[in-house]
């Protein structure tokens, strides 16, 4: 018999939870299984009924669905709609699900037939333009990052289970980076998207002296005009900045505005 858990006297149910993947590297799901020291406590919060990467025999009776990956095929679209129909809460897990992720880099080629030929050669697979989950279904909650950060997921899932509100930082990575006492990478000559990227990763890359690539997408009202000026004044080529902005798909609308 499972014993009932309470929080401040209120009974807490373990929600029936499923994990799914569309086009992705499944690295975000792997992250869910990382951080072993607190893994059991994490798994204890959820009643996981479907998780291909971690268990056999999946059930399709669930309340929360975590979906990793982007939509690149018609059958994925169909699967996603089915998941949406079942799930009370649909969570976009990671940058692919939120913005298209690294996959969406192929969208920058006009000739998708050529892309297919390059990748699959004589074994073609039916693929389409890469799109995020929100292009097809309502997404209730986004967890950003490539990969997602387990510490952040732990906090989000705890709040989800307790029915607390979930707020992402609206400010850019610089706030967390400076809080960690880092020396600004621009001072060292490294480009960084920290000034425009949504915080919440605790400046994971800049902490390790790697400039931010913007995997978490834009902060609220990020100042792209000034970002360009900063890149220019640090003699960082426009293309180097665009390569970073394009990498995970979170900035696609900002790039469109820039080229206008």
């Amino acid at each position: 018999m499972e014993k009932t858990r309470t929080y401040l006297g209120v009974e807490i149910k373990r929600p029936r939870t499923a994990f799914f993947e569309l086009s992705s590297c499944e690295g975000c799901q792997l992250q869910i299984l990382n951080k072993e020291a607190s893994l059991f406590a994490f798994l204890d919060l959820l009643d996981i009924v479907n998780f291909r990467e971690a268990m056999s025999n999946g059930s399709n009776d669930y309340e929360i669905a975590f979906v990793e990956g982007s939509v690149t095929r018609a059958d994925e679209e169909e699967r996603l709609l089915k998941i949406r129909k079942q799930a009370k809460t649909l969570v976009a897990l990671g940058s692919c699900a939120c913005f298209g992720g690294v996959n969406q880099l192929k969208n920058r080629f006009n000739d998708l037939e050529w892309v297919k030929k390059e990748v699959y050669g004589d074994f073609p697979i039916e693929t389409q333009k890469v799109r995020p989950l929100s292009d097809f279904v309502t997404v209730d909650l986004s967890i950003y990052g490539c990969p997602i950060k387990k510490e952040e997921v732990e906090e989000i899932v705890t709040n989800l289970v307790l029915g607390k509100s979930i707020d992402h930082p609206r400010y850019p990575v610089c706030m967390e980076c400076t809080a960690n006492g880092n020396i600004c990478l621009f001072k060292l000559g490294e480009p960084c998207l920290g000034p425009v990227t949504r915080a919440g990763c605790d400046a994971w890359c800049p902490n390790n002296r790697v400039g931010c690539w913007g995997c978490r997408g834009p902060a609220d009202e990020a100042n792209f005009d000034q970002l360009q000026e900063i890149m220019d004044s640090h003699n960082i080529p426009r293309q180097a900045m665009l390569d970073r902005l394009e990498c995970f798909g979170g900035f696609s609308s900002a790039i469109k505005n820039m080229s206008e």
């Binding site: 807490i12 850019p172 400076t178 006492g181 060292l188 000559g189 009202e221 100042n223 005009d225």
Partner: protein, 348 residues
């Protein structure tokens, strides 16, 4: 104040006496693109790490007295009830070896708010009362405008203050503990020549300040220019990233967040330093944002520091260390902003 002199090679003795404590001082972190040395306050583990000749540190001392994240209380949740634990962390005395006048003045300003009679902050006060501070004179950098803020010298808030006279240190003593420690060194009274050397050095230092701000009538001018279009121009540049507040020795605004442990049996309340430049700083329940645009947020930061605080305490909440301007990728500096308000023109 009591003045003494001790030989330069005795500095290491002073360090050795204090080295058993948590000892924080300026140390080299690296060099920037132009080869300029970058310093940080951090724990010092050997005398050779201590760089009293440092220019200034990229970050202020704040992480040691007002950390970016700090647990205010923790809770044990059992049997439908809860128990609160508060740890003020007062059992860890710290030695700060090598603070410039601006940073000591920064602490004195924070004291007015955080140890004052209205809302004393026990976490800050606990740390503050457990500090032993050795000040050291500096060499003005191109971004330092402390002279304009009246914070280029410091009269209180330290235990001893060192000035390098070349082969010996001139030391101002302000506490009994400092005196007791110094008696273990071969201290002597300063001679007439030492006095003259000290004054000479101060004159030389004064002549090296290149950056300044005209603060005259500033509270009035800020009142008059509340609707000035220059704020919009600065707002366009601001990234709303909070770096200025993070590195500022006197910014103390914070938010409080609750975290529940994964096992649902423990929880913590944490303070997180915030910045008035962040987009949701003035967002209230229901989602209304009183300062939704970067221009009004940036403006309020200046009004708090150079007008509101000035009216409340007859001094600005700024020590002229220039760290914010150095940290700002958009190149927004206090002297430029205040100058633009006076002249109604933003430099391109």
């Amino acid at each position: 104040m009591l003045f003494k002199v001790f030989p330069g090679n005795e500095l290491e003795t002073l360090y050795d006496i204090l080295a058993g404590h948590h000892l924080v001082g300026p140390q080299l972190r690296g060099t920037d693109l132009n080869g300029q040395e970058l310093f940080a306050f951090d724990y010092i583990h050997s005398f050779t790490e201590l760089r009293l000749d440092f220019t200034s540190t990229v970050h202020s001392l704040k992480s040691f007295i007002l950390p970016p994240r700090e647990t205010l209380s923790s809770f044990t949740l059992t049997n439908g009830d809860w128990e609160k634990h508060v740890d003020l962390g007062i059992y860890k005395p710290h030695v700060f070896f090598g603070l410039h006048p601006c940073d000591i003045n920064g602490l004195n300003k924070l004291d007015k708010v955080l140890t004052g009679p209205v809302y004393p902050d026990p976490f800050y006060t606990g740390k503050r009362k457990n500090m032993f501070i050795i000040g050291v004179n500096c060499s003005p950098q191109p971004w330092c405008f402390c002279k304009s803020m009246g914070t280029d010298t410091v009269l209180s808030g330290f235990d001893m203050f060192l000035t390098d006279l070349g082969d010996r240190y001139f030391v101002e003593i302000q506490s009994a503990i400092a005196y007791d420690i110094l008696t273990e060194l071969p201290i002597v009274d300063p001679t007439e020549a030492d006095h003259r050397r000290f004054v000479e050095l101060m004159d030389e230092r004064n002549s090296k300040f290149t950056c300044q701000v005209d603060n005259s009538d500033l509270t009035k001018i800020l009142d008059l220019e509340f609707q000035s279009p220059v704020w919009q121009e600065w707002g366009k540049k601001c990234m709303s990233c909070g770096s200025c507040a993070s590195v500022c020795p006197t910014c103390y605004c914070y938010g409080v967040k609750e975290f529940v442990d994964l096992d649902l049996t423990n929880a913590t309340k944490q303070r997180q330093l915030y910045s008035c430049n962040l987009i949701d700083f003035a967002m209230v329940a229901g989602g209304h944002n009183f300062r939704p645009d970067s221009a009004s947020r940036l403006k309020y930061r200046y009004y708090h520091k150079h007008r509101g605080f000035q009216e409340a305490y007859e001094e600005a909440l700024c020590v002229g260390c220039g760290r914010c301007g150095q940290a700002c990728l958009a190149g927004i500096t206090v002297p430029d902003v205040i100058d633009s308000v006076r002249r109604q023109e933003v430099p391109k």
